[in-house]
Structure formats: structure tokens, C-alpha cells
Symmetry: C2
Subunit: 206 residues, 2 copies
């Protein structure tokens, strides 16, 4: 089984790279699907969960309630959500199919499966440009506001990783390769990354 | 013409990766050859020049003397050496042959040629291990001493880059890809990197 994990700076195009890579390689793709899994297992609202995990970071998720089978409101704390996320990611690995998992510290959680671990970055200018172009309707951030948002989300990602690992979020020595998307269309980079990954699995399986 | 530049942390195996890559791809390889070129053009001693550039960094090269055609001692300052290095690297590019250039900020100096730029890193433990295994006879550093040496050399590399560029030495967003060699034999990584580079030149030439 081959697992590729993609960690990424917000706005770097890591998600698009993962999706396109999964198409080229014929791997399963997991991203928001993990949230769906957690929502299903906990009974929590998917959209709320997504927003909480992405925007507020682990330490800052307020106490949440979900509905038990019996319809009773039950408190869910941060640790339980993280544990559930871990469960969902481990279930994906245990299914034994080649897959790409974007975000959620899957590289750490699945260390024993020896995933090919990738980090995707870009310079701030490229990230702001990308985020503004792809902003959902109604969101009208200035470039400066977008920069703050990018910093905030990445800070939370770094903090969440810190809790479960010694390896630093975003440091090149924490991943097998780091790809810089600055100045490129993601689709231009896909063949190179796919070629690297394919060779990686052929030549480095220990 | 295809140019690959490799910047690297001391002890990461970047030089070996470059050499092996040049064998696989059939590219010319430039590393110490650049020093030979400078020595030839300035009349300075090659070994001394190498040591000065590698160990002391740009700011700290003491005033040096070379012998003019007439046999007179002539002062050579740091800027002149850097200019000569720039000349030698530009001559390599102008020759128009596919090549790999290791170190010496070739990625910055040859920006207009759109090189594929790579950074090679590793965690400190791997770098110390590698350096100790490859230490020349008579050099008996303790791991702690080797760590200091690695820090010192990399600090000088970072400083030298700072002088000629805004892009930060070692930051993943300063290069197209960053490869982490920790825990791997360099030869295991060569096929993946070669595949990436080949695809890169096929798909991203603008």
C-alpha cells in the first residue's frame, strides 16, 4: 500500500495538487472526507467541525455538543475530536488502498505505514493572489486581511502539529520533499511530483 | 539548455546527489570546477581559495594576493573574487550545455536562464553522522564539534546569499523543491529526483 501525505501552507495550492495527483496516480483522495467521517462518528455538524478545526486550531475549539443515539446532547471536547480524527485516518490506512491524505497531520499519525510525506509552500504574494482569486462569493478580504488570515490558519496548523509531534510544521526536514508552487499553475507541477512519488515508492520501500 | 542548481546544507549529501544526478541525466557537473576556474583566472591557489570561500564566508576573506602575469603581487579583495566566481558561473551557462551546478548561489546568478532550483537538507543527526563518516584522515571532530562546524559553514552560506539576493538561504520558498535526505542513502533518492527534474523541464519550460 502506498500512502502520500500532503501538508501545506494555506493558499499554496496543496489541496489542488493532492487532488490532481490522485487523478494521475489513481489513488484514493482524502481531505474533507475526513471531516465527514468525524461528523458521522460523533454526530456533529460537518460544516461547523470543518470551520472549527481549520480556523480556530486545536487549543481553541470551544466545548461542543453532539447528539447521542438516544438524542441526548453530549459534550465533546477537543481531545475527543482529535482522537476521532486519528481514528478516521487510521481507518483509511487500515483499508489498505493507495491513497493521498491532505492535511490533519496524517504524516505523523500514519508514521508506521511509511508514507511519502510532502509539504507544499509558496511565497506570500502567490498565496494571497491564489486566495483572493478563489475566495467564496461574499468574502471580500483586502490583500492585507488575507495575509493575516493566512498567517492565522498556518499558525494554528503549526500549533496542532506541535501537540502531537516533535517535528516542526513547515520545516523542510520534517517532510521528504517540499514543493514551492510560487509562480506556477498547479497543473504544471503535477507531472513532476507524480514522477517523483512513483519513483519514490519503487526505490525507497524499505 | 537545462540547468539544475543545487544548494545544500553542509553534510546533507547535496554534492553526492548532484554528482549522481549528473551521471543519470548525462548533464555536465560543476562544483569544485568553479574554484578551479577562479584560481585559473586570478592566479590564486585553488586549495586556499576553496577553504576561504567555504569556511570563512564572503565577509571574512582576508585580503589576498595573487601574482600578476608580470609576477608582481597584486591585492585581490573579496568583491573581486565574488565577481570572478560570477564570471565563471556565467561562462558555464553561456556554453549552453545541460548542467548541474552545486552551491555558489548559481540559482541567483543564473536566474535569467530559468534553472530548476533545488535545496537539499537533512536533520542535524543525519548531517553529523554523514560528516563524521566522511571526515578526511586526521580530522577527529567530536559530534558536538562537528555540529558547530556545520552551523558555521551554513551560516556563512546564508550570509553570502544575503548579500546578493532577497531570497532567504534554506527557506523552501526560495527554491523549486527541497529534498530531505534524512535517513536515506543518497543513491536511493536519485531516481525520484531525476524523474522530477526530467518532468520539470518537459512541463514547465515557459
Amino acid at each position: 500500500m502506498k500512502i502520500i501525505t500532503i501538508s501545506r501552507e494555506f493558499g499554496s495550492g496543496g489541496r489542488e495538487l493532492g487532488k490532481r495527483l490522485s487523478d494521475v496516480l489513481g489513488f484514493d483522495y482524502y481531505d474533507k472526507e475526513i471531516i465527514t467521517g468525524i461528523a458521522k462518528n460523533t454526530g456533529m455538524d460537518e460544516k461547523y467541525l470543518d470551520q472549527m478545526l481549520d480556523t480556530h486550531g486545536w487549543r481553541n475549539i470551544p466545548m461542543m455538543y453532539h447528539h447521542s443515539f438516544a438524542g441526548m446532547a453530549m459534550p465533546v471536547n477537543q481531545t475527543e475530536i482529535m482522537m476521532e480524527q486519528k481514528n478516521v485516518i487510521e481507518q483509511i490506512a487500515k483499508a489498505g488502498k493507495d491513497c493521498i491524505i491532505v492535511g490533519r497531520n496524517a504524516d505523523i499519525l500514519l508514521e508506521e505505514y511509511h508514507p511519502f510525506t510532502m509539504f507544499v509552500c509558496a511565497d506570500m504574494e502567490s498565496k494571497i493572489k491564489r486566495c483572493l482569486e478563489r475566495a467564496p462569493e461574499g468574502e471580500n478580504h483586502t490583500p492585507k486581511e488575507m495575509e493575516r488570515k493566512i498567517h492565522q490558519i498556518d499558525k494554528n496548523r503549526a500549533r496542532t502539529r506541535e501537540i502531537i509531534s516533535d517535528s516542526e510544521w513547515g520545516a523542510a526536514s520534517s517532510y521528504n520533499i517540499t514543493v514551492n508552487t510560487s509562480g506556477w499553475e498547479i497543473k504544471e507541477l503535477v507531472p513532476s511530483v507524480a514522477a517523483f512519488a512513483q519513483c519514490w515508492f519503487e526505490h525507497t520501500q524499505k
